[in-house]
Symmetry: C2
Subunit: 147 residues, 2 copies
């Protein structure tokens, strides 16, 4: 009688889908408030932690390197990011935030606090439970070497 997926599992899947959809929209909205697209905001956020070669940005974004060229071009055009030579390998270009870019990244991270909002209804204990469950979900299919 039961289909391959029981009702409970189905409900959880639907909920995750809803969370994903909302998170995505709100992320883009937060980025737009700083005149950035979602992809630009993600790259800027990455570079705010540390400069990195184009190649690694592509790996983090799980997209083709040729795509990153354009995104960094636009960020560079706004003076938020700059390309530096890598002293150890003249092929690679290190993308790094400028001062202005770092400021924007910090403000951006601030407005991402929206993500904290939905958690406000959960007690610390519940957050721990949620954290552990999510961690276990993610461990099932470890995506790629962390780094």
């Amino acid at each position: 009688m039961a289909p391959r997926i029981d009702l409970l599992t189905f409900e959880v899947i639907e909920l995750i889908g809803t969370v994903v959809a909302r998170y995505h929209k709100e992320y883009e909205h937060a980025a737009a408030q700083h005149a950035l697209t979602g992809a630009q905001a993600r790259v800027l956020g990455l570079l705010a932690r540390e400069p990195m070669p184009m190649r690694r940005i592509a790996q983090q974004l799980k997209c083709e390197p040729s795509n990153v060229t354009g995104i960094v071009d636009r960020l560079e055009g706004r003076g938020l990011v700059e390309r530096r030579p890598d002293p150890t390998d003249r092929r690679v270009k290190l993308a790094a935030t400028t001062e202005s870019g770092m400021e924007t990244a910090v403000r951006l991270r601030g407005s991402l606090d929206f993500a904290r909002e939905p958690l406000s209804g959960l007690s610390p204990q519940e957050r721990m439970v949620l954290r552990d469950l999510l961690q276990r979900m993610l461990k099932i299919t470890p995506e790629e070497p962390a780094e």
Copy 2:
């Protein structure tokens, strides 16, 4: 000492971000296996439940109606969807899956079982806990009239 966000909350936020990123990529990958983009797959999935006017598709996708025109155009071009007149209002066009579209939608839903995979490590009780926590998270900021 503690910043505005405590460590635990920060961890949960990061985890949710990871879940979102992975879910999205895998969703697109599943769609691509049926020669669909993510947006096309979402629309097809919606229409597989019931036909609906373009306007409502846009509401569900949270995008402009003019955007839906193109997506439905492409689905229609492949014979997966058709536009029907609404007998009660000649302005509206009801988008509905064709038989072929319905088949594709069913197969698509099958390959979305990937979403079940990460849950396989959780017991039914844990799934219930996860469901309840997610539901409460989502209730904090009720998005829009369900309908």
